[in-house]
């Protein structure tokens, strides 16, 4: 036999109790009581980068790889790579993007997903490259909110200890 879990009128008290003992009873304004339990939910997903793999392997070598449509009449150039062209459907080929670009847009996140809360505040930037038809989303470091503006020149930096994640590359103000 287990003692009946404690009853609370406030849901945040229920949540606190779940952290302590794993079970609580919530009583709503109509007096309805609901048993609430803690239910852990974790997975390690086996994530394949599949056809995007060369990009992430490239980051570990200090390279930013974009892709370019192989069909001469199309030739669309993508900053965020894809193995087939979004415009005409032809296969693309890899090429090295320049390591310098400009801010297409930017923001400073003061909150984020639970996994990234401890990193706040952090800057996100869409970076545009000369002659390239799409842009790349990346973190922007070594600068603060008040430094940032559309058109600001930036350059890439790479993690010397790559984790095979898009976070292996980030940008900083040029010069």
């Amino acid at each position: 036999m287990r003692a009946r879990p404690p009853t609370f009128d406030k849901f945040r008290d229920v949540q606190a109790e779940l952290e302590r003992t794993g079970a609580a009873i919530f009583r709503d304004t109509d007096g309805v009581e609901s048993l609430v339990i803690k239910f852990p939910y974790q997975i390690n997903y086996i994530h394949s980068y599949a056809e995007d793999s060369p990009f992430f392997l490239g980051l570990a070598e200090g390279k930013l790889k974009g892709s370019k449509c192989r069909r001469v009449k199309c030739g669309f150039v993508f900053a965020t790579p894809r193995s087939h062209c979004m415009v005409c459907g032809s296969p693309t080929e890899w090429f090295d993007l320049p390591l310098t670009g400009r801010l297409h847009s930017w923001t400073t996140c003061h909150f984020g997903s639970e996994a990234f809360l401890k990193e706040t505040p952090y800057n996100l930037a869409l970076v545009e490259f000369a002659g390239v038809g799409s842009v790349l989303l990346a973190r922007l470091k070594d600068c603060v909110e008040s430094d940032l503006y559309v058109g600001m020149p930036v350059e890439a930096r790479f993690d010397p200890n790559p984790k095979y994640s898009i976070t292996d590359v980030w940008f900083v103000p040029s010069g």
Partner: protein
């Protein structure tokens, strides 16, 4: 459409799971037209966004059996933030195609079962998990990127085009953009004071909005919708059947959908698909959609207007319930739906066109009542239980067109005078999918 029901949206409904929430909304809808009994319903379309939030896969089956609908046909729908709007259209299509005479659309979401920032993580998994999510996985961040560029295109290069110093010009433009976005937030929270279903009705000032917590620059907490628990249902039936149940049926006269790339970074720079009142020369140097506008919203609007025979939305529509997950996206959507040209969204807001007549917003709204947008309070004030949201808009629009707002809200303040036609607009992550549906009064 012959009836609908909505649960009050709340941060948490711990005493109801998704099945009971849908049941409550369903019972309300059936009570409104007693001639409609469960056995007359031919089948269902059921929507919810995320199995992560529910921690119950195939939750739609559990709704189906809780409502006693087995063994009737059903399809579960999911399309990110536009899930509810898609469900609305799926039920319409089931009837319009002749497959069913009477179809129930039901949607729900229970988002309270995880902490807010874990919930943000689940939502952000609806962005590219190779290229976007690991950077910070945060939808408010994505919309902030979009509005910073929107402000650049239309205020920096518009109203502030003459300011020489680039950084000063951008600073002024952002300040101006944020002030105007705050007007939208004030409007939606204030409208909701008269909507008993709304989660966050309140009277705010522009300063309150601007000074609320910064979430992702320049978007503050009061410019952003929250997570909610809630459910909504709508019943569609053929025109012949409709007369058996109500003398105030509402006709669905147009549906449209549009899509765009999952990654913001992939949005190309092309030409604007034009509305009838626009000319190519209006946008000669505008890279479109880039990240500043929702091409999916424009495509959905164009299709729905064509279907409904609408050539001028300001003239042909009496109101719009649109997907204001952010105050910024409401302004961007005015332009996508052709209520004004691209670039005019800020001026359109300031003139007051999307505001309600007869409500004191605390600032002048000279054109109030021109085309009320989110008279219900929208997502910002009502909440956003994803799978229910698009259906909630359908139900509010239905009551508005029926003229029964006072009956269902217990308050006549939000009832528009004699509205003939309205639109509902449902929008998924960064504008990757949008639905627009046009509803029209089906009685004299």
């Amino acid at each position: 459409m012959v009836t609908g029901g909505v649960t009050k949206f709340a941060k948490a409904h711990p005493s109801m799971d998704f099945r009971l929430m849908v049941k409550r909304a369903y019972d309300y809808a059936l009570k409104d037209i007693p001639e409609l009994t469960a056995d007359r319903i031919d089948g269902t379309r059921i929507s919810y966004f995320s199995d992560h939030f529910t921690r119950q896969l195939k939750a739609a089956s559990m709704v189906q059996d809780y409502l006693g609908m087995n063994p009737k046909g059903s399809i579960r729908l999911e399309w990110g933030g536009a899930t509810g709007g898609e469900c609305f259209q799926a039920a319409y299509e089931a009837v319009a195609s002749g497959r069913m005479d009477i179809c129930l659309a039901a949607g729900f979401e229970t988002m309270s079962r995880v902490a807010t920032w874990k919930g943000n993580e689940f939502i952000a998994l609806a962005s590219d998990t190779n290229f976007d999510f690991p950077l910070g996985g945060f939808y408010t961040g994505y919309y902030a990127l979009m509005v910073v560029r929107h402000i650049y295109e239309y205020l920096r290069l518009g109203k502030f085009a003459d300011v020489k110093d680039e950084r000063e010009a951008q600073r002024l433009a952002i300040e101006e953009g944020c002030r105007v976005m705050s007007l939208v937030s004030v409007k939606n929270h204030l409208n909701a004071l008269h909507n008993p279903y709304a989660q966050y009705p309140k009277r705010l000032t522009v300063e309150d909005v601007l000074n609320s917590e910064m979430i992702s620059y320049p978007l503050t907490r009061e410019q952003i919708c929250t997570m909610s628990d809630g459910a909504a249902v709508a019943v569609m039936c053929s025109e012949e059947r409709a007369k058996e149940f109500t003398d105030r049926p509402i006709r669905v006269i147009g549906v449209g959908t549009g899509t765009d790339t999952m990654r913001l970074a992939d949005r190309p720079f092309g030409k604007v698909p034009l509305m009838p009142h626009e000319r190519a020369r209006d946008y000669e140097n505008l890279p479109y959609p880039g990240v500043h506008s929702f091409r999916a919203g424009r495509a959905a609007g164009l299709e729905a207007y064509r279907h409904a025979g609408i050539t001028n939305p300001n003239r042909d529509l009496d109101f719009i319930e649109l997907h204001d997950a952010y105050a910024s996206s409401e302004i961007q959507t005015y332009e996508d739906l052709g209520l004004c040209k691209y670039g005019e969204g800020y001026a359109f807001t300031e003139r007051g066109d999307p505001f309600l007549k007869g409500i004191d917003y605390g600032f002048p709204v000279p054109n109030a009542g021109a085309i009320p947008v989110n008279p219900s309070g929208g997502l910002i004030a009502c909440g956003h239980p994803v799978g229910a949201t698009g259906l909630m808009q359908g139900v509010f629009a239905f009551w508005q067109l029926q003229g029964t707002i006072a009956k269902h809200f217990g308050d006549p303040a939000l009832q528009l005078k004699n509205p003939k036609r309205g639109a509902i607009h449902s929008h998924a992550g960064t504008g990757s999918a949008v639905t627009v549906s046009i509803l029209e009064r089906g009685f004299r």
